[in-house]
Amino acid sequence: MEIDIQLRPGSSAAKISLATGETLTAEGGSMIAMSNDMSLTTTTYKKNKGGVLKALKRMVSGESFFMNHYEPGPNGGAIYLATALPGDMMTMELNGQGLVVQGGSYVASSHDIEIDFSWQGLKSVFSGEGLFWLNINGTGKVIVNSFGAIYPVEVDGDYIVDTGHIVAFDETLDFKITKAGRSWISSMLGGEGLVCKFNGKGTVWCQSHNESSFGKIVGPKLRARK
């Protein structure tokens, strides 16, 4: 499987070339073009497995309930994936180590990657940040996307990242969702809401922009909805 991310960073799309026998699992709605004989199967979880519960959990995390599996014809094939919002994409290689990916940032993964859901507690619901994360494990490739540019931060010790700016992070990192300021009131009024306090050694991939912050700028300019 070869992944070529084109037109970075604003208009990025991933071209994934598949050899015969390889399967790509992708988020629903992300395919923009593909080879003629690429076949698509839609399942609730993994190909040839059930997993309705996992699908339900994934739906809560902001991903779709169904997963699409693409398989090329006898001569191999290619598929282009893109996202709705302007921003970048990145390929992560997993060799057994785990990765935590922000719910909306998952795009696609190779066949042997396991995707599970992790919920970051009731606090996140009240914060309005919708903190639903995916635990991704296995060996293979994962494609993630961001709103704006992606940049890595090497953490060695403590580091704080606003929850709206997290794309993914190494599972080796410990983290705690907490308030940005001293008190809840100052955190909310300060507009920072929740932050993620990381501890340990590993990488956090951040996105330069927070989509809900942008939405809050654009939305009020439009006529109120009924």
Partner: protein, 231 residues
Amino acid sequence: MESQATEIKKGFDFKFEGKPDYGYITVKIPASETLKVEASAMATMDTNLKMKTKFKGGFSRLFQGESLFINEFTAQNAPAEIGIAPAAPGDVEHVYLDNEAIFLQSSAFVASGMDVKAETKFQGLVKGFFSGENLFLIKCSGQGDLWFNSYGGVIEIDVNDGYVVDTGHIVAFTETLEYKISKVGGYKSLFFSGEGLVCRFSGEGKVWIQTRKVNPLAWWVHPFRRSRKNN
């Protein structure tokens, strides 16, 4: 493309800048030559360019959600430069038509040479409705430059053995290709894959696809709108 004769005009000098996110075009129009430009796309120009507004494409253009007009810019006495910026931030592309034809999505036309004929073509009700786009395509044919644009980036794909493109992601395709609207996968995929219907191209030629669409951006903003208070 074979170049057989020396009299084949290569088209105007031009350059692209800001690709792929903020693409715009600067075209050098030789003295007494004319360029057709989509209305309102002119951003900058030399003072010796004379503009004439043309009603092109006839009545059907009314239904395309497009402005009705194409303006013609003629360089008087000396060569002149024009800066053309499409309405949506995104990519710009160029092809030189050599007695060929290209179909453009109805909002993709930016500019062309005078010998390129731009006409609206009815896609047919089935194709039109299900393609998620307009009922009309613009057919550009003849000889000369053609510039087109889209929201998001544009990727050119060589089609040899057919290709599948998500409806709504088509920017342009060569006339040599046939297409039909169909589903991908089984019926479960039709309803649950989020991919819905696709355009299945066959034959040999080129298709240009866009990496972003305007509609999903608009839908994404929607929840951020204020809600009107009911009394």
